[in-house]
């Protein structure tokens, strides 16, 4: 177990499930909002992982496909209690959010057409579009886009927007292209 990082205390499946239930229920606003609460619960309060291992888990969860918060839960659960631990942590993390959305979806149908509800959503819609547009620029800044690679997101966006190319095809192309570039071209450039 040592290669999976230091585990200071034993966790039962039930407490694992409970801890992730709490994390899932109390974070509004998406995966990254969960990081501080997760760290407090997993590292500080329960002592299940040390800080360094927690950061490793974080990096791996970002690198892997899927949903960031679920990846974190899956990895931490697996480190503590194997496959069952992974399942317990993931279920804990998503059950309550799923229940709340189903409840919302059920009520939503009856609220549609209500004038107050419509008024609120007329205000919300442009805000949602702005909230999707903002991370484009935030991510472009953190990714340190240069003249050498800025064409990649631009071409991707144009292909999806104007030619309706499936994003999944673009991801596959970028993945293969990126791997081949890293394997055969990048190192040579670095050596030259």
């Amino acid at each position: 177990m040592n290669n999976l990082g230091t585990i200071e205390k034993k966790a039962s499946l039930w407490t694992l499930f409970g801890a992730f239930c709490k994390i899932g229920a109390f974070t509004i606003g998406g995966g990254y909002a969960m990081i501080p609460l997760m760290e407090k619960e997993i590292v500080d309060r329960r002592g299940w992982l040390d800080k360094e291992t927690f950061l490793d888990v974080l990096a791996l969860s970002q690198a892997m496909p899927g949903i960031f918060a679920v990846n974190m839960a899956s990895n931490i659960g697996y480190r503590l209690r194997g496959v069952l631990g992974s399942v317990a942590a993931v279920l804990g993390n998503i059950l309550l959010p799923i229940a709340i959305i189903i409840l919302w979806a059920t009520c939503f149908r009856y609220l549609q057409g209500n004038p107050i509800f419509e008024a609120v959503f007329k205000g919300l819609r442009p805000a949602v579009v702005a909230l999707i547009a903002a991370p484009v620029f935030t991510m472009a800044k953190t990714a340190k886009l240069s003249w050498g690679n800025i064409w990649i997101p631009i071409v991707a966006a144009l292909l999806i927007w104007l030619l309706r190319v499936s994003p999944i095809l673009i991801i596959i192309a970028a993945g293969i292209g990126g791997y081949l570039y890293g394997r055969y071209l990048e190192r040579k450039e670095g050596a030259a």
Partner: protein
């Protein structure tokens, strides 16, 4: 059959998402609205608003919601729609969780491979374009109002858009706070001032 299609669609969305919550929104938009027509663009925007304001990962919330609406639109009852919700949210995490377990177990070193590093870096850059396309596709009459028919709503929408964009990008204001404020603004403008 709708349930099988949901399962397969969300399985793909899950395993191909390398770009976080907003990238997931972009992928779901393409699969659910553009390709399958399971909901309209406006329903999609409303759904994203709700998903951001309820607890839990946005990807899970959007998947749960999309599963529900897809089944309902296919003509099934509400209890069947709940099953659709569960199928969508479980299939979206199925492959990533399996992959995570395998990677934690066998392939921890793969992360340090330079070619894999470059691949992930390029994937992350590509996802910026994906999210940009999602935002552009949402800049439509359903979200902003028609510039010719509801000019007032259109102008007010642009104002809300710019205010939220600047607050989120420049001042890092929390999305939840921004959505609550925009909802209140919508209520005051369209519920109280304009109908009178």
């Amino acid at each position: 059959m709708i349930f099988w299609k949901l399962f397969y669609t969300f399985l793909r969305i899950g395993i191909f998402n390398f770009g976080g919550g907003y990238a997931m929104i972009a992928l779901i938009q393409n699969e659910v609205v553009t390709r399958n027509g399971w909901m309209t663009m406006q329903e999609f925007v409303d759904m994203v608003a709700v998903s951001q304001m309820t607890p839990g990962p946005i990807g899970i919330n959007v998947a749960t919601y999309a599963g529900y609406t897809a089944v309902l639109h296919a003509g099934y009852s509400a209890p069947m729609a709940m099953i659709g919700s569960c199928i969508a949210s479980f299939s979206v995490i199925l492959l990533p969780v399996v992959a995570m377990i395998l990677v934690t177990r066998f392939l921890m070193k793969m992360q340090d491979n330079p070619a894999v590093q470059t691949m992930l870096k390029i994937l992350r850059i590509t996802f910026i374009g994906l999210i940009a396309a999602a935002a552009i596709l949402l800049m439509n009459v359903e979200s902003f109002g028609s510039p010719t028919q509801d000019t007032t709503q259109f102008i007010l929408s642009i104002v809300i858009f710019l205010a939220v964009f600047v607050a989120a990008f420049r001042y890092k204001v929390s999305p939840i706070l921004l959505l609550v404020l925009s909802g209140v603004a919508g209520y005051i403008i369209y519920g109280l001032i304009l109908p009178a």
